[in-house]
């Protein structure tokens, strides 16, 4: 199951959805909005996606993972829009017969998501500035919100 949503992610429902009698291991990963990044204080994040491609790439990643590990079930939900401190931005759940596979598959799913899925976040810092996060491009702080 793959989903982009503007609503809070029901992480419990996602976890339950991958439980299965064939699986002995479930791994759930949650990305949450962290307050401090390299000494700067974040108040909120805005997430944006190119949704058609994001969904297609998430399916592709899940299919690749299924060729590498014996995945019993999986679910990936990414939230979009304005997120406050502590909110869950992404949830990846995977079940496998054994734990090593479940950890490796979970790790692959979130690592690859962060590499190739067209979703972007904009930091809202406590000094009133905002900044799109684009790894490899120079950081460029945009106009203070108060202007």
């Amino acid at each position: 199951m793959i989903r982009l949503t503007h609503d809070p992610i029901d992480t419990h429902q996602l976890t339950e959805s991958v439980r299965d009698h064939a699986a002995g291991a479930v791994v759930l990963f949650l990305g949450t909005v962290r307050e401090l990044t390299e000494g700067k204080r974040t108040l909120a994040l805005d997430y944006e996606a190119y949704p058609e491609m994001a969904t297609a790439k998430l399916k592709e990643i899940a299919e690749t993972a299924s060729t590498k590990w014996p995945i019993t079930a999986y679910g990936i939900i990414h939230r979009l829009g304005h997120l406050d401190l502590g909110d869950v931005s992404v949830a990846v759940a995977v079940s496998c017969p054994h734990r090593v596979e479940a950890f490796e598959a979970g790790r692959f799913l979130i690592d690859t998501l962060k590499e190739i899925v067209p979703i972007w976040k904009k930091e809202n810092f406590d000094d009133g500035t905002t900044e799109w996060v684009h790894p490899g491009l120079d950081a460029a702080t945009d106009t203070p919100v108060s202007n």
């Binding site: 996606a49 998501l113 972007w120 976040k121």
Partner: protein
């Protein structure tokens, strides 16, 4: 031919536009799109090397040919998760 290019994230904010209409000679490649974008929207010029271009729902490299009617999308490196 005319080609609409959708912009996302910092590329959209810098351009001040969701979408740019380019006029390209045929045949046109993704590399031509990249060059035309920087000419048409000077604000994007400092980013152009780092911008990614997708055709439809796949990443495209500069050698790929684009045709009128293709969905062409341009964005800086991703940061989801």
């Amino acid at each position: 031919m005319k080609l609409a290019v959708q912009l996302y994230a910092r590329a959209r904010d810098l351009a001040g536009l969701d979408q740019v209409e380019l006029e390209l000679n045929e045949p046109a490649s993704v590399g031509d799109v990249r060059t035309a974008l920087a000419d048409c929207v000077p604000e994007l010029a400092p980013l152009t090397r780092g911008l990614l271009i997708a055709v439809g729902t796949d990443y495209a490299d500069d050698s790929l040919t684009v045709a009128a009617g293709d969905t062409v999308v341009c964005f800086p490196p991703v940061s989801g998760g």
